[in-house]
């Protein structure tokens, strides 16, 4: 019996897996399922689907999906698209590359609050940028850069770009440089080399980069409050979940909102993965197995 199991790769070594599996089951799966079940036991509304019906009936709540997507998708798209030309320029080795990468990754350290305060100081009504614009006579009144949609979008770009950049750089590194050389000998100029060889091979990786960046952006919470307009323009779904949990003390509704949030995010991920699956997905070497 033991030998038959061993033939399938099942033996004592799998015991090492047990703590991790148990952990994920107890600390993740159980609360998640608990929350799911709880969401179907509304405290304030009627029927098992009461929470969900309320969510979609009330525009204050329902609109948060569109608002959050309206922030996360453009932010993720921008980050991914912007990372491509920059990573492409940096794909070789040059002096100071590591330093440059380090500097581009630095925003990870800043933290939401610092970015928020910095943005308020820099772009606020009495901030440096507006001061400059006023002094130069380019505008008559201070421009409203923050405490709106743009402030949050800016924060998402600042925090998301380094990550997207690193990923794109890594995917680019996985493409055999010989391929571009082969294309050159066959007559392809720099533009053709990029669009016909490098870009198609990069696309599947870019899909993953988009997904990961989107996931980060979709969860936006503190910036939406500090640099946005949490009551209106930037009322993202995390905010109403928080409100339900900690201001209205409706744990059931909060769970429902959390589930909806997860479902929307997964839907986007699944769609992108589906599209990616249609693209070529094999190894990006050049032969020689």
């Amino acid at each position: 019996m033991r030998r038959r199991l061993a033939a399938h790769g099942i033996d004592r070594a799998l015991l090492l897996l047990l703590p991790a599996v148990a952990f994920v089951a107890v600390i993740f799966l159980y609360p998640f399922l608990y929350g799911l079940v709880l969401s179907f036991k509304p405290e304030r509304y009627v029927g098992a689907f009461g929470n969900y019906q309320q969510f979609f009936a009330d525009p204050f709540l329902r609109d948060t999906i569109a608002i959050t997507l309206g922030l996360a998708v453009p932010a993720a798209l921008f980050n991914v698209i912007a990372s491509v030309p920059i990573a492409y320029r940096m794909r070789g080795t040059f002096r100071g590359k590591r330093l440059l990468i380090g500097m581009l990754v630095m925003p990870v350290t800043l933290g939401t609050v610092l970015i928020a305060k910095g943005l308020l100081t820099l772009l606020g009504a009495r901030g440096w940028v507006n001061r400059a614009l006023l002094d130069l006579g380019l505008v008559e009144d201070p421009v409203r850069f923050v405490n709106n949609y743009w402030g949050v979008l800016l924060t998402l770009v600042i925090t998301g770009f380094p990550f997207a950049f690193l990923l794109t750089l890594s995917y680019l590194g996985g493409i055999d440089p010989m391929l571009e050389r082969a294309a050159a000998t066959l007559g392809a100029g720099p533009r053709q080399r990029f669009w016909r060889i490098t870009f198609p091979l990069l696309l599947p990786g870019l899909a993953i980069t988009f997904i990961l960046t989107f996931v980060l952006a979709f969860a936006v919470f503190p910036s939406a409050v500090l640099v946005g307009e949490p009551a209106g323009e930037t009322r993202v779904i995390s905010i109403v979940a928080y409100r339900a949990a900690y201001e209205q003390f409706d744990a059931s509704m909060a769970s429902a909102i959390a589930m909806i949030m997860g479902a929307v995010q997964l839907a986007v991920v699944v769609i992108v993965l589906g599209v990616r699956g249609r693209l070529y997905r094999g190894p990006s070497g050049g032969g020689k197995g």
Partner: protein, 280 residues
């Protein structure tokens, strides 16, 4: 070594745009940091380009007012515990996943991937409720457990391809030379695992200190890490000088910078991301 021969032509407009963006991004970054830094060092700053005068007393004030000594301790405790536990739980699991292919392996890997794909809010809020019911709401244990949820899968996802790259015949060779399982782990496999664990560990540290939502939902007074205290200070209404908040933000940034520099000096970021990439 070789480079495609280039004609002596001026850089394309796209190149200018790309480097321009990089330059702009870096300058903007520095301006942000400068804004906060300057404010934290200023006495009063209302209507001019720069503050009226300079001082460092805000740092001392912030430290005292927010009880940063205990906050820092709490932050370090949480981070250290999450680091140790996630490595302890995650590395053996990675070993099993890397060395054995068994029916259902794909499913198990998916189970470890999902916590990283869901928004922290989705599992954070229910988790907070469950912790509350088990009398763990607001405790240090609760915060640590919550932060472990994304950390354990992260360690597993980075260490599994790392271990797969280590030739399994090394272990076989050690065995033929008479080494027992414990010896193999400690003296043969261990040293080879260290670079991977270092990389994964440092990133777990950076993520934990920086991840706001999970600690926010599960912490209580006395168990809030720095990132949560900082948020409350900025957000909660009250007569708080913006300078002391900025001072605290700078302290937070300093802490993160130290971690990031440590991480980058031990790890080549593109390598690490490459391991993640190979797994997708």
């Amino acid at each position: 070594m070789t480079v495609i021969a280039r004609r002596p032509v001026a850089a394309s407009p796209l190149a200018w745009l790309a480097w321009g963006f990089v330059g702009f991004f870096l300058v903007f970054m520095l301006a942000l940091v400068a804004a906060v830094l300057v404010n934290s060092l200023g006495t009063r700053w209302l209507d001019h380009w720069l503050p009226d005068g300079y001082t460092t007393h805000w740092y001392g004030d912030a430290w005292r007012e927010f009880g940063l000594t205990s906050v820092m301790l709490v932050t370090i405790e949480i981070a250290a515990a999450v680091l140790a536990l996630s490595l302890l739980i995650g590395v053996p699991a990675s070993y099993a996943l890397a060395r054995r292919s068994f029916p259902g392996r794909g499913l198990v890997m998916l189970a470890f991937l999902i916590p990283l794909l869901l928004p922290p809010v989705t599992y954070g809020i229910p988790l907070a409720t469950v912790l509350l019911r088990h009398d763990l709401g607001g405790t240090l244990t609760g915060v640590i457990l919550a932060n472990l949820v994304p950390s354990v899968p992260f360690v597993i996802l980075t260490m599994t391809p790392f271990i797969e790259q280590i030739d399994p015949r090394i272990e076989a060779a050690a065995r033929t030379l008479g080494a027992g399982t414990a010896t193999i782990f400690v003296r043969v496999l261990g040293p080879l695992l260290v670079p991977g664990m270092l990389a994964a560990g440092l990133l777990v540290l950076v993520r934990t200190v920086g991840m706001f939502e999970l600690s926010f939902f599960t912490a209580g007074p006395g168990t809030q890490p720095l990132v949560v205290v900082l948020y409350y200070a900025a957000f909660a209404p009250g007569v708080r000088a913006s300078q002391s908040i900025d001072a605290m933000a700078v302290i937070y940034m300093g802490l993160m910078l130290m971690l990031l520099v440590a991480a980058l000096s031990f790890v080549n970021p593109t390598n690490l991301v490459a391991r993640l990439r190979e797994n997708t």
